[in-house]
């Protein structure tokens, strides 16, 4: 199965996002590179607003992620509550 | 159709021989001698003899290669447009059939110092 991935800038605001991704996607693999963090997962990755809000202790709009995104791979589906990446293979 | 377009479209070639003030472009490369990263581009008159091209620009440009001093020009094998071909050293480029933007290749079979050991 192909990996989907997301890469975020390494900064204070992405720390809880990365933590939430790891909590919600047990198969995710985190790679820390200079100034960025890349997270791979086989076939599918879901980012839940609720998990991030639990970690940051405030309301969080998933579209805030746009500020810190570097790149991603996979078909995207975004709703108010989650952002999902998938490969259909 | 020679281009995807709304209606018929004919392009104007940029590099026709008429634009080179009486000269023409000739490309020359030396097979397996990749110290030179690409074929040389020469802009020379068609009246120049093949010998003048060899003893002039070609000798000067190939100088940095360690094999250059050992070239026996009478034994060099030549290709034109990727086909084996024998030049007449005394005749002009034009009389040798070397047209604008022709690619000449030279081979020196036993002379390949910088070529990778097989």
């Amino acid at each position: 199965m192909s990996n989907v991935f997301i890469a975020l800038q390494a900064n204070e605001e992405t720390r809880p996002i990365i933590e939430a991704i790891v909590m919600d996607n047990p198969q995710a693999v985190v790679k820390r590179e200079p100034a960025m963090v890349k997270i791979d997962a086989p076939g599918r990755m879901v980012i839940h607003k609720e998990t991030i809000e639990g970690l940051v202790g405030r309301a969080f709009d998933l579209q805030e992620m746009h500020i810190h995104l570097i790149t991603l791979s996979g078909n995207v589906d975004e709703t108010d509550n989650s952002l999902t990446l998938t490969w259909n293979n | 159709m020679a281009v995807t377009s709304l209606k018929e479209y004919i392009g104007v070639p940029r590099d026709t021989v008429a634009n080179f003030n009486g000269k023409q472009l000739v490309y020359v490369s030396w097979d397996h001698h990749l110290l030179f990263a690409a074929p040389f581009l020469l802009c020379i008159p068609p009246q120049m003899t093949f010998r003048e091209m060899v003893e002039g620009p070609l000798t000067a440009l190939t100088q940095p290669d360690p094999d250059a001093k050992n070239i026996d020009w009478s034994k060099v094998e030549w290709m034109k447009s990727n086909q084996a071909w024998v030049p007449n050293f005394g005749a002009s480029l034009a009389d040798n059939g070397i047209g604008h933007k022709d690619q000449i290749r030279m081979r020196t079979p036993n002379l390949n110092s910088l070529r990778a050991a097989a």
Binding site: S2, Q63, I70, T79, N88 | V3, D15, L34, H100, Q103
Partner: protein, 507 residues
């Protein structure tokens, strides 16, 4: 019951619907064909424009809000960089060669992309596509501006930056990316989307920006990391637009498949040729290297590209035709191009150099089957020439590829000792190519590519071969911007200023 219904907060999908609702009106003064004259001639059939959806569904207010925040972050860091002698924190001023090349060759591409997407925002028929293209047009002009602004700090101290807009139009190597964008912009809207939105943004941008930015972070270049990440934060949206557009085309009509496939083949190949510049940058120009070009290609090309094409297989899409040839050349392309950049460095607005012994050791380790065998002997000989006082310069200029406009530095597939010679004749004129891929692109649309302005022939047709006049014309200061890094003003100044910054020395 009389309880008041609380007004429900609109969801993401509904908000996006409202944003675009009134943009798709039925025209009455003119027919749709007159309003959108370019959407049919490429042969792509669209039955229902409303089927295209933007998965991010970014509304205009949210767009401005997040973009403004990105700008604030960007300028905070750029100011700090300028205020804290950021230009002295580099590992080595040699590093700036990569940034000079970026400013001359890549930033103008951002501007070209902006123009292209502005046009596509007008030419496409569907409202979702129009909005996404217009946002991308704004993004791309922001990228061009922030890059020029960030890099302008280096222009105060170092050479090679001052004439980037003339370089963009006139110097030889910049014609490679320029012709890439010109080719895309002179195509129809659908091909443009495959060229820039899909091939460039989805398949290639990771290979361009991610290693570049990590390289900048590794080499102490905070300005570039910052503009890179700021630009890259828009990229996820761009990549998604590209992918959604290709799926949309393929879902709309089965007849679209062969057209889309041919564009994928073409633009993958053109993109790989541009990436040879990135390969040379990663393997040779960064004093402190993050990963080799080959390693980057394994991650972002093989793994990620493979996943993408597996996914698209359900539509009948095959991996790009030149994929295997490109993969076979990965361990050669950066070496072949940098060798050229070195020997023609009298004509580049950046410096060249002979790789140090350390560099060569790294290259052998990263390219165990190719570097020592093919490329080290050439560099050892070049070192010898340098030591003997006859440094190697190739004044022969170079044959350029009619399609990609790179010097034809690449070798035959399967034989790294033999240069690839390809030529064709069309209407009595000869044309030369670096590869089968470029030749096929030409042969499909010869009337387009025969017009190419090739800088090396132009030096003779327009300036009679006068190199001095050419240098003036391209804005290249001889002996200052060009030539070897060792002994250059850049090297001398960097060492001096760095000494002043880290000790109490006054000069």
């Amino acid at each position: 019951m009389d309880t008041q219904v609380t007004k429900k907060k609109l969801g993401l999908k509904e908000r996006y619907k409202l944003l675009t609702r009134d943009l798709g009106w039925e025209t009455t003064f003119h027919t749709k064909d007159e309003v959108y004259p370019y959407v049919k001639y490429e042969g792509i059939k669209i039955n229902d424009w409303d089927k295209w959806e933007d998965p991010f569904r970014l509304t205009m207010d949210a767009y401005w809000k997040y973009q403004a925040e990105k700008e604030r972050k960007f300028y905070a860091i750029i100011d700090a960089h300028a205020q804290n002698n950021g230009h002295l924190n580099l590992t080595d001023a040699r590093y700036l060669t990569a940034i000079k090349m970026f400013l001359q060759a890549i930033s103008p591409g951002e501007y070209a992309a902006s123009k292209g997407f502005a046009r596509m925002g007008r030419e496409f028929g569907g409202v979702g596509t129009q909005v996404a293209c217009q946002m991308q047009a704004l993004d791309e002009i922001r990228h061009a501006q922030t890059q020029i602004h960030a890099i302008s700090n280096y222009n105060k101290y170092y050479n090679g930056f001052h004439a980037f807009s003339d370089s963009r139009d006139r110097i030889w190597y910049t014609s490679v990316p320029r012709s890439f964008f010109d080719d895309a912009m002179s195509a129809g809207p659908f091909e443009f989307m495959i060229a820039i939105g899909f091939s460039f943004e989805y398949v290639l941008t990771n290979l361009l920006f991610v290693p570049f930015m990590s390289g900048a972070a590794f080499n102490g270049d905070m300005a570039t990391v910052t503009f890179g990440f700021s630009a890259q934060s828009d990229e996820a949206r761009h990549m998604t637009l590209g992918l959604e557009c290709i799926k949309f085309m393929l879902e709309q009509d089965p007849g679209n498949l062969p057209i889309v496939q041919r564009w994928i083949d073409k633009w993958f190949w053109r993109g790989m040729r541009i990436l040879s510049l990135v390969g040379a940058m990663m393997d040779y120009m960064l004093p402190k290297r993050v990963m080799s070009w080959k390693e980057a290609f394994d991650i972002y090309g093989v793994e990620n590209g493979g996943a993408l094409f597996n996914d698209l297989a359900r539509y009948g899409i095959k991996p790009p035709k030149g994929w295997d040839v490109a993969a076979g050349a990965i361990e050669h392309m950066s070496h072949q191009l940098f060798l050229g950049l070195y020997q023609w460095s009298f004509g580049t607005a950046f410096h060249g150099w002979i790789p140090s012994d350390d560099d060569m050791e790294w290259l052998s380790a990263k390219y165990p089957t190719t570097f020592d065998k093919y490329y080290r002997p050439r560099w050892e000989h070049i070192k010898k020439l340098e030591a003997e006082g006859t440094p190697f310069k190739n004044y022969g200029l170079a044959k350029l590829c009619q399609t990609c406009q790179l010097p034809t530095v690449f070798t035959e597939p399967g034989d790294p000792t033999m240069m690839c010679h390809r030529e064709t004749e069309y209407k009595g004129e000869k044309y030369h190519f670096c590869s089968d891929g470029c030749q096929e692109i030409f042969e499909h649309e010869p009337e387009k590519y025969l017009q190419a302005w090739l800088p090396m022939p132009a030096l003779f047709s327009e300036l009679n071969g006068d190199i001095g006049a050419w240098m003036d014309w391209v804005g290249l200061k001889n002996g200052v911007d060009n030539g070897d890094y060792v002994g250059s003003q850049d090297q001398i100044n960097f060492d001096k200023w760095r000494g002043m910054a880290t000790s109490n020395k006054q000069s």
